[in-house]
Symmetry: C2
Subunit: 218 residues, 2 copies
Amino acid sequence: MNDPRTYPLKEILPEPTLRRLPWYLAFVTLLRDRGVEYVSSTSIAKELNVDASQIAKDLSFLNIKGKTRIGYEVEGLEHELRDFLGFSDVHNAIVVGAGSLGSALMQDSGLERYGLNIVAGFDVNPDRIGRRIGSIEVFPLAKLGEVAQKLDVSVGIVTVPFEAAQTVADACMEAGISALWNFTPCRIRVIDGVVIQNTSIYSNLAIMYNRLDRLRRQ
Amino acid sequence: MNDPRTYPLKEILPEPTLRRLPWYLAFVTLLRDRGVEYVSSTSIAKELNVDASQIAKDLSFLNIKGKTRIGYEVEGLEHELRDFLGFSDVHNAIVVGAGSLGSALMQDSGLERYGLNIVAGFDVNPDRIGRRIGSIEVFPLAKLGEVAQKLDVSVGIVTVPFEAAQTVADACMEAGISALWNFTPCRIRVIDGVVIQNTSIYSNLAIMYNRLDRLRRQ
């Protein structure tokens, strides 16, 4: 984990900043690939459509200073962003529910670059149990506690149907898993000391349809 | 599309309401599967951890009235929610970038239940072109305009690497696609009359890590 002394302000980091930092990271990674050495907040602003002063403010949370008239050193900024966002750490994760979305995540090699190391899948469907998805084995749900503890899992990815979400979340918490990444529309209840992160793909669809609909009626 | 006269208030629907409606839909779908006939906002509140008065307020945007002491008719509520959210309409979509995430979405049968009908994939990688992912064919990127127009596509799902995102978005807009669902960390610029919906999986990861980190240091 990051050293708390190094990031004294992380505690009070506003969530919108935290949402923007990965955009900056993606852009500076691209610049580094292209061999660019320095980048100004103005160039980042132009590329990402974010106010330059906002970018400077967001980056002030990091241990990096831009140079006047030159900007930020690209490689240093990439490294700082990656560290700060926790993408350099390895977080062992399990996928509970190896259906279409679960299998998809197990095969998404992109996640590993963001510090998420999926070590096992779980399902109740006998057709899925024992199979490998990519290189990752699917275990019966009953083995969750045992496997999670053995493999030092900190993140449980919940991709089961709505009605099973709370039950598998409970099983994850019982196994000592401290973060749940919930892809179901179920509002999972967590105990104190457990982080819940909801990523509702279908809610995003509803918002998109609504905007599209409104636009067509203008 | 929905009839504007039927939903006069949809225009001013607050986005938090729009985010919650799919939760209600998931829950009432489950109730309907279980043969439950009526549900009160209090029961929904208890299950979903949302204030009952908030639920009543959210549902007031719909053409449905709950009955005193009985609540909402489950099947009617499900139907209304599905219609209102645009999940009953068919939105033809293409996936641009048939890598791990793109392929995953092409195989996620869940999307179809939410009105998203993926009709084609596109890629620049010769190994992927001509293949079928699930039942969906992957075409060369150069065919995007032709295929999108022939298949009456309204949604372009962008799952390419960061550096290609704006280019493929431009190609989609040129083909007359009116909504872009962007899974990349790139801030895509759109022309007037085009909807952009960002779903940043990796930003969600960063937020989760940050919360986890903070918790561990408490």
